[in-house]
Amino acid sequence: MNLFTLFISGMLINNIILSKFIGMCPFMGVSTKMESAVGMGLAVIFVVFCASVLSWGLYYGVLVPLELEYMKLITFILLIAAFVQFVELFIKKNSPSLYKQLGIYLPLITTNCAVLYVALDNITQKYSLIETIVNSIGVPAGFMLMLCIFSTIRERLRGNDVPKAFEGNPIAFIIAAIMAIAFSSLSGLV
């Protein structure tokens, strides 16, 4: 598969939020302000990329030779949890200012389905290492793009008169629906 196509389709066409509904929890939780959306987006790109590449190596380097493929779920989630913890400690020690900005998002990433989903998807689709790398940048980049667009819309929404029952999250889902309609028209791109 063409690498560029893979990147674009991971980022825009099969956008993980709007077409696969993965990573909805942080999407709804952190998308109220542009700054936090950017912070969360960058953290997710970094963690997804490293965790996917590491779990790809672990799967083909350790689990397949030992015929322990069925352990992939447990291995991957442990790897992700440990990696996030490690990144948190590393940033805390080396760059306190970055830690202040990202600090609250890092623990949240462990339970972000996007990280686990990309790691598992790379294995299910039988991607090679290069394809895994491209896919693990494209998909979280799409996540970040959505998060940023969404947070700007929600910032504008704050002063508006929304029916009382729809205040907060319900109206955000309506916006997500409209964005999903817009993005579904991109499916003819590749």
Partner: protein, 218 residues
């Protein structure tokens, strides 16, 4: 009087403390797999089983786990249970397994399960933890069932249920005449709209209850 109060209590528990529409936990799966009621029931049962078992195990080891690493311990417990449940589903109901796809594995990161392990089972004995798991699991199942009912009826016009073990149809009922169904609701955007409307309904009910209790105190 007390009977009415109890009934209200149950309704409140189901609606206001609803994990999906009230607390917005576990949204991913509730949006993705609710295209028909078969999937919703299957997913609901799988999540409930994992939730109850993980509550039991977490509650059993709660005094043995060091505080610093409790999250990894819980995650390993949950991942083990999900692997087992996934294998059982794959073995006995292959059609359900292919319909739910990656979302079976993603039960691991379903916030409801880790949330209950952290907030309830890690501090309570086994008995109440089982009860908590069952009640949370049932209200999750009912929520995704409600979503899938709306989406299936509006999207295909047919209400049907089939046996996941044999794929034989149990019943099938056409509610909307052919040509008048709205395929819109089978798509992604339909899922978002359905979710928004149901969540708004729950929040309207919540506002209503709050207003009523305010009037009551005055």
């Amino acid at each position: 009087m007390s009977e009415k109060k109890e009934k209200n209590g149950l309704l409140n528990r189901l609606l206001i403390e609803n994990p999906v529409f009230g607390l917005y936990l576990g949204i991913c799966s509730s949006l993705a797999i609710t295209t028909n009621i078969n999937n919703a029931i299957g997913m609901g049962i799988a999540v409930t089983v994992v939730l109850v078992l993980s509550n039991i195990l977490v509650s059993a080891v709660r005094n043995l786990t060091p505080d610093d690493i409790h999250i990894p311990v819980y995650i390993v417990i949950i991942a083990t249970l999900v692997t087992i449940v996934g294998m059982v589903i794959q073995a006995y109901t292959p059609s359900l397994y292919s319909a739910l796809g990656a979302f079976i594995d993603l039960i691991v990161v379903n916030c409801i399960i880790l949330g209950r392990a952290e907030a309830f089972a890690s501090m309570n004995p086994i008995g109440p933890s089982i009860a908590d798991g069952v009640s949370m699991g049932i209200s999750y199942t009912l929520s995704i069932l409600a979503m899938s009912l709306v989406r299936q009826i509006l999207g295909t016009g047919i209400l049907s249920l089939s046996n996941p073990f044999t794929n034989a149809e149990i019943f099938s009922l056409r509610l909307i005449p052919e040509g008048f169904e709205l395929p819109f609701f089978k798509e992604q955007f339909g899922a978002f709209i359905t979710f928004a409307c149901l969540a708004a309904a729950v929040s309207a009910y919540k506002n209503h209850v709050e207003n009523a209790s305010k009037k009551g105190t005055k």
